[in-house]
């Protein structure tokens, strides 16, 4: 068994840049989302297709990012 179709892409959610990583292991697609700066994992999901796994992970990531407060400095 190997990771197949490993792919990384970046996109922006609100003011935050995120990286979406997805790959297939066996019959399962895995997706993770990190926040690029600093690179912390903020969501992950699995699914039967890449799209399903990525969409689930992105949905969770967006909920979490929406809760991030920014302060005036």
């Amino acid at each position: 068994m190997r990771a197949e179709g490993y792919r990384e892409r970046k996109e922006t959610v609100g003011r935050w840049e995120i990286r979406v990583v997805s790959y297939k292991v066996g019959d399962e697609w895995i997706a993770t989302v990190d926040n690029v700066s600093p690179g912390a994992n903020i969501a992950g999901a699995s699914g039967k297709t890449r799209e399903e796994a990525e969409n689930k992970a992105l949905e969770r990531a967006k909920e979490r990012l929406a809760a991030t407060r920014t302060l005036t400095v």
């Binding site: 990771a3 700066s37 969501a43």
Partner: protein, 279 residues
Amino acid sequence: MAEYAHPEVLVSTQWVDEHKNDPGIRIVEVDVDTSAYEHGHIPGAIAWNWQTQLCDTVRRDIISKEDFEKLMSESGIEPDTTVILYGDNNNWFAAWAFWQLKIYGHKSVKLMNGGRKKWLSEGRELTKEVPKVPRTNYKAQDPDLSIRAMMQDVYKAMENKSAVLVDVRSPAEFTGEILAPPGLPETCQRGGHIPGAKNIPWGLVCNEDGTFKSADELKKIYAEKGVTEDKPVIAYCRIGERSSHTWFVLKYLLGYKDVRNYDGSWTEWGNMVGVPVER
């Protein structure tokens, strides 16, 4: 091109692939996302959970010597076993584990350069099988606390400028614009940084494929901010794992003599009453 000061602490994914079944080697995956291992891991690798196995789960502290001995014994590790660590997020928590193995005096510890990301992206073999390892009776060394900074050490360093403080968080965390990395829960009451600290985000030291940059590139990154080998250094982040990554780079890849990881980091400093904060 200069060599790393201690090249023996790094192994490539290719090396691990070729030696994963060698006797005397234990491969350990340590992830931020503690479920990653279950989705597939290097054949023969075991997993450590940083939240339950590499921390004291009652008080805030690193693992005790007794619990460390128990973990190593249950992991089938002998004092002369070579431990190969790898994980997600470019080895954040693998470096955290490396740091604790060095605190308790384990001799042969290596990081797999590029971590889990590189292994996956190269399409190398994975398994979901959890190996059974024979239990040992591991005895640890007394803790070497010269590589750990406590709050009092950091306070003195800030006041006397006796060490360079390196804040490895993102610029937005450093300035206090955000109180935690985007998408993660806030864990401090105040934002900002320790007065005088230099902001050198941990990720600057990595290439796109997750491997470490060359020694020359690393030296330049730190020298440009005044972090040179003639000065003691204390690295910190939010909870101490990103800074253990930077500690690894400064101590082992660049060979700086006096480098400490402040694992209390911003969740300690940013919650204390009355300590100075700079924005």
